[in-house]
């Protein structure tokens, strides 16, 4: 068999006229988002617009509201990454507020029948779009935001950036296997164009903004 890759690049080079490396030219629209007066207020607005629910810290104050929200969704099992102290603290603080028990991501992945809430610390949040950023960098798990029925993100205020560019800058050179932008709950409009939550991912996305 001829080497398909070589043959493809012969065709491409012929088409591109062998012009080699691209010239860098200044592009319009580089910094289109006007600086937001208040990143946190903007994030609260956009996260809510994306269908998420925002709670403000401190933890002690937010826990009872959070417990109520989880009970309303029928949640009984809570899980968090082993090495995520902030997520653990909140999940453990919640136990007295409902018929909640603690479980693990592995157990939920194995097919737990309970309605679950997954807790995880965000690595960044984007005010422009109401986005929670989670990555696999440093061996972090993605399961709480992936397979749980309700996802609770813990967002330290210092990690809220204004624009998408700032969130991506950290990964521009050597990205981890997975960078996920999560903006509100999982949605579908595939049946009669009716917006319905919980297609595959979480039905409810909650962010707990601390500090």
């Amino acid at each position: 068999m001829v080497n398909e890759r070589e043959s493809l690049f012969r065709r491409l080079s012929a088409a591109c006229g062998g012009r080699g490396a691209a010239a860098e030219e200044p592009l319009p629209g580089g910094a289109p988002m006007a600086p937001e007066g208040d990143r946190l207020a903007r994030f609260a607005e956009t996260f809510t617009a994306a269908g998420g629910f925002l709670l403000r810290g401190p933890v002690e104050a937010a826990v009872s509201d959070l417990g109520e929200m989880l009970r309303a969704e029928g949640v009984t099992a809570l899980f968090f990454p082993e090495d995520d102290a902030a997520a653990r603290e909140i999940a453990e603080a919640l136990v007295p507020f409902g018929p909640f028990h603690l479980t693990t991501g592995a157990e939920v992945r194995g097919g737990s029948a309970a309605v679950t809430a997954g807790f995880r610390s965000a690595e960044a949040a984007i005010a422009e779009t109401g986005t929670i950023v989670e990555t696999s960098a440093g061996g972090k798990t993605l399961l709480p935001g992936l397979i749980a029925d309700v996802h609770v993100s813990i967002v330290p205020a210092a990690l809220v950036v204004a624009r998408t560019e700032e969130a991506l800058a950290a990964f521009a050179a050597d990205p981890p296997r997975n960078i996920s932008f999560l903006s509100g709950p999982s949605k579908t409009g595939d049946i009669e164009q009716t917006l319905t939550v919980g297609a595959h991912g979480p039905k409810k996305a909650i962010a707990l903004l601390l500090g």
Binding site: G20, R109, T129, G130, L146, L168, F171, N178, E192, H200
Partner: protein, 470 residues
């Protein structure tokens, strides 16, 4: 996917008589458009971002040899195995071989138009692999054994009753008319598949050359699940999806969801790069990237290069009066609407799809909404002229067009014809519509009246009005 593009006329007639489809089309395209317009209006930087995205794509295509080579090198450096397929047959062969070599028996797939081009599912089924579509719309039409009818809303032509009947027959679920209940049924069924599948198959909205990353934009979260949970990840992507740098991505993330569904951002964006790293608790141990040429390098070489800038947002479908009337199936292949009318003939060969460039009023709305500024109406015209040169027009069509051009070039002749038509029209129809013209004009009058010619031609009315104004 089977090609049936030259039957556009017959397909369109069928679509126009389908009441369910007509209702769905009106509802869907109208809603998408309204949401898109609102999102664009609320984003003052839309034009500047559009210009930026268009330039990035043009640069990426002008130097695709460089950027694609970079993408492959970076992806392989991070553990991915990159395959290149010249055509659909070769792509099917490679996909089947990957599945066999990886020992996969069940694959979950998220939406990918590129995979439709190569009839991916059939290829894997031929290799003994069950492929389950995980996008809800795609899942529904897979159960129904049909093809998608809209790029981002593949099941727009199905009602909840039809979907519930499908779920009853294929999943053993009780009948319901609740949409949330139907979504729950699909979620439960598909979750089990995600947890047991050996391979997740995805498309790719963008490929980042600098890092070897594949970017997926979804709302349901299926793309994310399929690229995190199964042991193997296979991405099937066209070679034209490359953008140079990670810093180019934000412009596209701002344009794509706004143009597609009027969202500021879709629920999920996944940027996946290589295989799971040492110490990662999840992520695929093996990642394959199947890059499709399938006609793209030939397009790159010619005058239609800019069509490869397309980001598959489907805004041009929703805004197109022809698509609004006939829907996606009428176009007889993977891509529909204005983008389909240009891309299909270029990918499959003009003789196989010469009917499609004619399926347009050339109103220009598609070019107005395109987030990467593809000159779609110019391309439609150019393809019509190519069709003429390649002898794909009938002598009758050519004669009629020559006659039309002859009249339009001579103002006096046009005026005389208008005047005679006006007099005859008033005499025979008394100013009402004309019904029941003979063939070949019967197409206009079969289901509606052709408007009668005005007693006074437009240009005369114009002259009089201008005269009155002084």
């Amino acid at each position: 996917m089977e090609l049936n593009a030259n039957a556009f006329g017959r397909n369109a007639r069928k679509a126009l008589l389908d009441k369910t489809l007509q209702e769905a089309l009106g509802r869907t395209t109208g809603r998408f458009l309204a949401h898109r317009d609102a999102a664009v209006a609320a984003f003052p930087e839309f034009e500047a971002t559009r210009e930026r995205a268009s330039r990035i794509k043009r640069d990426a295509l002008d130097h695709l040899d460089t950027y694609l080579a970079r993408f492959i090198e970076e992806a392989e450096k991070r553990g991915a195995i990159v395959h290149v397929a010249r055509d659909a047959a070769q792509a099917r062969e490679i996909a089947a071989r990957i599945a066999r070599d990886e020992g996969v028996t069940l694959a979950v797939k998220s939406k990918s138009m590129a995979s439709e081009e190569i009839s991916f599912n059939e290829a894997l089924q031929g290799a003994g692999v069950t492929v389950v579509e995980s996008d809800l719309g795609e899942f529904i039409i897979q159960l129904a054994g049909e093809a998608p009818s809209h790029i981002i809303a593949p099941a727009v032509h199905k009602t909840r009753e039809q979907i519930s009947r499908l779920f009853e027959r294929h999943l053993g679920e009780p009948r319901t008319d609740s949409i949330p209940e139907l979504v729950r049924m699909a979620r439960r069924h598909l979750r089990a598949k995600f947890l047991s599948a050996g391979m997740g198959v995805s498309g790719g909205n963008f490929l980042v050359a600098d890092t070897g990353s594949v970017v997926l934009v979804t709302n349901e979260g299926n793309g994310r699940m399929g690229t995190v949970l199964p042991r193997v990840h296979l991405a099937v992507v066209g070679i034209e999806k490359v953008i140079p740098r990670m810093s180019d991505l934000p412009a596209f993330l701002r344009l794509l969801p706004r143009s597609a569904s009027g969202q500021v951002i879709s629920s999920y964006v996944s940027i996946v790069t290589g295989t799971r790293r040492a110490g990662d608790p999840e992520g695929p141990e093996r990642m394959h990237i199947l890059l499709l040429d399938c006609g793209r390098s030939a397009i790159l070489e010619g005058k239609y290069r800019e069509i490869l800038k397309c980001v598959r947002c489907a805004a041009c479908l929703n805004v197109c009066p022809v698509y609004q009337s006939v829907g996606g199936h009428a176009y007889g292949w993977v891509y529909s609407g204005p983008i389909g009318a240009v891309l299909t003939p270029l990918l499959v060969g003009l003789p196989e799809a010469a009917a499609l460039p004619d399926a347009s009023t050339l109103c220009g709305a598609c070019a107005d909404v395109c987030p990467v500024k593809i000159p779609l109406p110019d391309f439609l015209l150019e393809l019509r002229s190519d069709a003429r040169e390649q002898g794909l027009k009938t002598p009758g069509e050519i004669a009629a067009m020559k006659g039309y051009a002859g009249v339009m070039k001579r103002a006096g002749l046009l005026e005389a014809i208008e005047r005679i038509a006006g007099v005859l029209g008033q005499f025979f129809t008394k100013g009402k519509g004309i019904g029941g013209l003979p063939y070949p004009f019967s197409g206009w009058t079969e289901r509606r009246d052709f408007p009668a010619p005005a007693a006074q031609p437009f240009r005369k009315q114009w002259k009089i009005k201008r005269g009155a104004r002084g």
